[in-house]
Amino acid sequence: MSDRRNISVTINGETFEREVETRLHLADFIRHECLLTGTHVGCEHGVCGACTILLNGQTARSCLMLAVQADGQEIKTVEGIAPNKEELHPLQQAFQDNHGLQCGFCTPGMLTTLLEFLEDNPDPTEREVREAISGNLCRCTGYQGIVAAALDAAKRLQAGS
């Protein structure tokens, strides 16, 4: 008999009510139950950062949480970053303009991580950006484009606010 529970999780403003196995991790819940496949599953042991989401505004590895632990909580995934379907968030636009991605696998984790980081540190140095994304692995870009994008996004966000 599998251990199951009813949970209700708000993701990007939409509430998802599902009956899940208690052993299901949050990344699989988001992808398979809520069909939000923007959140990527890389290593499934907390090293690669691809599955990073925002849990009540704070980043977390969604592969290192059980879905049941998110019951009643608010989550933001990469799908919830852009203000609407036509426009990109300044951080996303900066990624596009600075070649901050190639295959795109690490991008959802990079974006969520940097979203939290730039809120706390709106005017970071390059070193601080590198440290902030040290928990996110990228195998394409060599990080140069990502760092450039983050610094560019910081400028855009400051100019916008």
């Binding site: 251990d3 052993r23 991790h25 042991h45 980043t59 590895r61 290192l64 059980l66 980081f117």
Partner: protein
Amino acid sequence: MKPPPFVYHDPHSIDDAVSLLAEKENAKLLAGGQSLMPMLNMRFVLPDDVIDINKIEDLSYIRDDGDALVFGGITRQRDIEFSDLVEQKIPLMKEAILNVGHRQTRNRGTFGGSLSHLDPSAELPTVSIAQDAIVSVRKKGATRDIPMAEFPMGYMTPSFDLDEMVTDIRVPIWPTGHGYAFVEFARRHGDYAITSSAVLLDVADGGEISKASVTLGGVGPSPLRVATVEEGLAGEVGSKELFTEIAEKCRDIDAMEDVYTPAWYRQHLAVVLTRRALAKAFSRAANGTGMNLR
């Protein structure tokens, strides 16, 4: 990689949690999940029951007790990182916590979880040993205190029983103006350190060291105090020559070996990092003098 099947419990009180621990034979406590969840995903552990303690509100706090700061067992590493109290009273912990994983993991990871997992090079256990912290553990109907010196039983094995859980950690405060330094070497920022050195120095007028605490992480099966270095420092006036000479004693420590890191390399790092940490701590002490050792 998916967690194996288990029965999930989420008690709302410490009493309920320890009752479950007493009742279930093969149970695991789930705190921040930054170590247990990977172990579940990889099926290194196969518990019949997982007891999630994140809903126990009285387990998360940082309290000023005058001569010590007391931390609840599931106080998040993030709360330690951003605590003014910690920065003022236990600056060693503030310096160390920035090396604990990444922001994404510190947001979830807990103090008690880190102690219970007891990785030999984990920063919070190293700092707890350096500061002579006392860990309170509770089981059904009984509470006891374990001094950090007796807390590690061996490699990744804390000395509390399977039906006990960490409820709080009492970290004594060193006098205002003490010197401190946490220095580590890791292959990448946020990785587990290969070796780390944590130093606390109480320095009297004229630069005489009245009390020293020197702890190495990553060298032995658990973080360890280096008594030979501490004794050699007591009563001496801090100087580059003293620190360079005394740090050499770290080379005699029996060090772990693995495929990436031979024992001699850990011993070498222990010497170099302790030398640097001593100089840094002495520079920061109110009665110390600035120096930099490479």
